[in-house]
Symmetry: none
Subunit: 221 residues, 2 copies
Amino acid sequence: MQIKVAIVEDNAGLCEELQHVLASAADLVCVCVCCNAEDALHAIPKISPDVIIMDIRLPDASGIECTSRLKRLLPEAQILMFTIQDDTEKIVKALEAGASGYLLKDTAPAEIIAAVRDVHNHGAPMSRDVARKLVATFHHPARDTGEPLTLRESEILGLLGEGLLYKEIGDRLTIKLDTVRTHVKNIYRKLHVRSRTQALMNKPRGAQGGPPAPLRQNREW
Amino acid sequence: MQIKVAIVEDNAGLCEELQHVLASAADLVCVCVCCNAEDALHAIPKISPDVIIMDIRLPDASGIECTSRLKRLLPEAQILMFTIQDDTEKIVKALEAGASGYLLKDTAPAEIIAAVRDVHNHGAPMSRDVARKLVATFHHPARDTGEPLTLRESEILGLLGEGLLYKEIGDRLTIKLDTVRTHVKNIYRKLHVRSRTQALMNKPRGAQGGPPAPLRQNREW
DNA sequence: TCGCGTCTCACCCGTTTTGGTGAAGCAAAG
DNA sequence: CTTTGCTTCACCAAAACGGGTGAGACGCGA
């Protein structure tokens, strides 16, 4: 069974080139070509392709918005961004909109074909620079707010981030509730905050299942 | 100039295997091998390797915590996670801790070598499944089945996320403290949580003090 | 050996949060 | 008009949290 691919790309030259590349792979078939978002939203849902190759910069609307709508209409379709824009914001928004892959336009034909197959097979192909920028969004900007937390304190801050009660933290670490309280008080003093939520804000994105907020020890290591 | 690599891995067999793999590449040199986090934190800063290959499951402490501390001591070092654990939470936490690559232990030797070179060259090598899970963290939730929050409730949830007291929220919205309490209670009931922190964990990521959570109203409008 | 820092625990206090119940005003929908 | 849902507010009570102080045990480094 061939992989049905749709292309959304306003640049005519690039569009033809893409079709050519796809045609060179026996297991890929281009079933639809749209040069703007409106056409794409009308035509693509009727065709239900397996993979959609999407440009970000489109004449009538953003490829991001188009991606979001198409993904809602066709949750099973895998969307592969194909663009010249490699700024972090675009990458993140594209993924949030439902894209699963992100290729830059300098990608070699063979890699494009591989990416289409990969994304169809529930992979997440992306260009090298894109991967690095994506990873960088997780890196915290190295906040240097005051004193460092000790190992124990970092540990407890992590558990605070999970929404546990002091009592539950005590049970988890096999220490008394009062000890937990002592550590928490020290944490708050060091971070210059006065509540659990503020302590967590001082940190990570998401706080979702709060990542630990590990700081350095103040001995040599 | 060779790329100096340190290994933090408790499994002796795997450790040797890794050293062997590294030795097979002329441009890589293994300069340090540690089998626990404490040794790593003592030894590695003195050596300043270019790349650190880090296991997540270590005997004395989490490789996540170790990664975080090493990254602070050696911001220039590129840390490559090498582990059997591929759950989303571990991946995200490792990256937040400062890792730049994430390989699973079924990775072929040639790919390991390529990954070390890549990460040293400021890339972000990761296994296929890891990339997909990472991308999936951006895909909007598929949120909880719970009842939708009203506009007011979303608004208050946002302020809760800023760490404000009920009193402060009341002042901000010009409503009584008791009214804030009522909304909060309804929020907790709808989200099936029993504390501020737990409620925030169910919020969209990245919403630090951002705009009110864009949830839907339940009427048509 | 001494000092320092960490981790542990205890007790004091007041504030904040959470849970439950009830109810009034209001606007939109049926 | 009646029902439904949102917003507003009140009262009672318990649990959890935040701040301060003090202190013993341990390990590590000077």
